[in-house]
């Protein structure tokens, strides 16, 4: 007779060293699935990266275009206004330089010629000073007239010379009034040269002395002229400076209108485009309703041009929705809702489709004890996000009353969230949802209505539709949430 043995022992012993090898097909399948997953994983960031690059490019092109386009005053006031204001000024001064230089060289050449002439004439024994003055004055009408009148009224060489001298001085002083320091310096150089030349000549002949005196007079009067010119130059510089300041001031003025800041508030409605449930797939066909919550925050926008502005900011966003058609039970955490992080609790409240808790002879089937089967049992999901939008606003109508198209995206940073149940007057927070992504994105479209109260204040109302792109870590959740908000605020330009 064989010994009796507990059946458990038989199995325990038999299976002790049990080991089987799976068919190679298994690994092939796993490998294929892993590759698929990698592809999926790669697709998302690539898409996001491309979107990011596209957005950056769009921004750069818009801004670049704005700043490089010189004709557009509004786009780049700093560069354009500066050059616009200064350019004519420069041209003027350039012209003055040219003019004065010409005149100056003419006059100085004249004088040199005059000196030479008189020297030659001196050598030749001719004392035809009037010729000199004629030669000299032929270059300048004024001079000519004065010289002629001088000759006419007085044949004395001295007086001619004096008159000549005076008129030369008056001409040069007139010229100099418009010249800058450089020219004046050049001029005085010329006169020094002249002085030197005439000085050389004067050593030889007494007749030249007068001419030398003439030049000396010019030279001696030069400092005065330099002072004059300096004064002029100062005022010119001052003017340029002033203009610059003015244009800068204008730029600042213009720039001040580019930024605005707007605190805003919006009632937001949370809903889903599909019939899924983020809490449990079995709730997909249950009555669900989005709740109206609030979003508030601060928005900063920058005007790119008359039509377009870009904006960002930060908003506190609360969203919630509730699911009905449920009943509540008590069970172990393992058997409860998979999407809820119950923490350390082992016996917890769970929610099921109405009618799924089965009790036979006071014993719970499936380990779930009924807690509440009241008809008003609902499960709520409350989510808090910090929203950072990046949106472009395009003005369709830009009058006292404005209409705008708004488009862009937001980054949502997950704040607090909770799943709670209410039934028959009691409320029980189950825990946090464990399937929400920490950072998700929305695509935003909307309309903006502005009313310009004053130059600085604008009242806006903006109905916006925002569709969440990746709210859940589990891509199988068939819940496609969106939210609609009517954002209103008072914006302030600064």
């Amino acid at each position: 007779m064989k010994e009796k043995k507990h059946i458990d022992r038989l199995f325990e012993e038999s299976f002790k060293n049990f080991e089987v090898t799976p068919s190679p097909k298994v690994w092939e399948n796993i490998e294929a699935r892993l590759k698929e997953k990698k592809k999926e994983r790669k697709v998302m960031p690539l898409w996001l990266r491309l979107a990011g690059i596209a957005a950056m490019l769009a921004l750069l092109v818009t801004l670049g275009n704005a700043f490089l386009n010189e004709d557009n005053n509004q786009l780049a006031p700093l560069v354009n206004q500066d050059s616009k204001d200064i350019a004519p000024e420069k041209e003027n001064t350039d012209r003055i330089f040219e003019n004065t230089e010409k005149e100056k060289t003419l006059t100085s050449e004249d004088k040199i010629e005059k000196v030479r002439n008189s020297a030659e004439k001196n050598e030749n024994g001719n004392y035809a000073k009037d010729e000199v003055s004629k030669d000299n004055s032929s270059k300048t009408d004024e001079l000519q007239k004065k010289a002629k009148s001088g000759i006419a009224s007085n044949s004395d060489k001295k007086s001619v010379n004096n008159k000549d001298n005076n008129s030369v001085v008056s001409v040069t002083s007139e010229v100099k009034k418009n010249t800058s320091n450089k020219n004046v310096l050049e001029f005085s150089n010329y006169s020094k040269e002249e002085k030197g030349i005439s000085g050389n000549f004067s050593d030889k002949e007494g007749a030249i002395l007068k001419t030398t005196n003439n030049s000396e007079v010019i030279a001696s009067e030069n400092p005065l002229e330099v002072f004059d010119a300096n004064d002029n130059k100062k005022s010119l510089l001052e003017e340029v400076e002033n203009r610059k300041e003015e244009s800068i001031a204008e730029v600042v003025k213009n720039d001040s209108k580019r930024w605005d800041i707007a605190p805003n508030f919006a009632p937001v409605y949370y809903g889903s485009l599909s019939e899924g449930s983020s809490i449990d797939p079995t709730f997909a066909d249950n009555p669900q309703s989005g709740n109206i919550n609030a979003s508030y925050g601060l928005q900063v926008s920058y005007v790119i041009n008359k039509k377009l502005s870009i904006r960002s900011g930060i908003n506190n966003l609360d969203l919630s929705y509730s699911t009905g058609g449920i009943e509540l039970g008590t069970t172990s955490a393992r058997g409860a809702l998979q999407s809820v992080n119950y923490g350390d609790e082992t016996i917890v409240t769970t929610a099921l489709d109405r009618g799924s808790i089965k009790v036979e002879d006071n014993f719970a089937k499936d380990g779930i004890l009924p807690k509440s089967v009241a008809a008003d049992s609902r499960i709520f999901q409350n989510i808090n996000y910090f929203e950072v939008p990046l949106e472009l606003k395009y003005a369709v109508l830009d009058k006292k009353f404005g209409i705008n198209f708004i488009g862009g995206f937001s980054t949502l940073f997950l704040g607090d969230n909770e799943i709670l149940v209410t039934s028959d007057g009691f409320e029980d927070v189950l825990g946090e949802a464990n399937n929400l992504t920490n950072v998700s994105f929305t695509t935003n479209v909307g309309l903006g209505f502005d009313y310009h109260i004053s130059k600085r204040f604008t009242f806006n109302v903006e109905p916006m539709f925002k569709y969440q792109l990746n709210p859940y870590t589990d891509s199988s959740v068939d819940f496609k949430p969106y939210y609609v908000g009517v954002y209103s605020g008072l914006s302030f330009k600064f």
Partner: protein, 178 residues
């Protein structure tokens, strides 16, 4: 490659390391799948699912406790998740069953046969029996893992034992008769 390095590479989703890990543990984990599944085909499906979960969740392995233990737990849970939800146990009132005589004659029963009759058990009986007898889980643990009560676990085990005992005895009778 050391185990630590292998795990690290797997955490980086390195394909070669994943292959190494599979080859290292496929047999051990497949044995688990075979014991918990109704047949080889499903066992292979379950092994595949288990490895995919392992590769996905390996990030969560924090080197507390043995790596093999973690792999086994993941595998068992994967299989449990699949079968515990299939409500095929509308058989009897499970709570009422008590089986006093579960002793059988000492005999050499081939492993193939034992495996076959375990696999033939209704899902929940098979799971509870395997968990309790072959993998040393307590009724309390089983109740939690299976989302059933302690009592259900105990009665499921009793039912499983009874069925297995009958089949073994039947087998022995047949063999003696030959």
């Amino acid at each position: 490659m050391t185990l630590e390095k292998l795990i690290l590479q797997c955490k980086k989703q390195d394909a070669k390391a994943q292959g190494d890990l599979y080859r290292r543990y496929a047999n051990v984990l497949f044995s688990i799948c075979v014991r918990y599944s109704p047949n080889y085909a499903e066992a292979e499906d379950n092994l595949q699912d288990a490895f995919l979960i392992i590769f996905e969740k390996i990030e969560q392995y924090k080197e507390i406790g043995s790596f093999e233990g973690w792999l086994k737990r993941v595998t068992v849970n994967t299989v449990l998740q699949k079968y515990r939800k299939q409500k095929v146990f509308k058989l009897q009132y499970e709570e009422a069953i008590e089986e006093p005589d579960i002793e059988i004659e000492e005999d050499n029963v081939p492993l193939d046969f034992l495996l076959k009759i375990v696999q033939e058990l209704p899902d929940r009986y098979r799971l509870v029996f395997t968990l309790y007898v072959l993998d040393d889980y307590s009724h309390k643990e089983i109740a939690e893992m299976m989302e059933i009560s302690d009592g259900t676990s105990k009665s499921n085990l009793a039912r499983a034992r009874s069925i297995l005992k009958n089949k073994v005895e039947h087998y022995q009778l047949k063999r003696h008769a030959l």
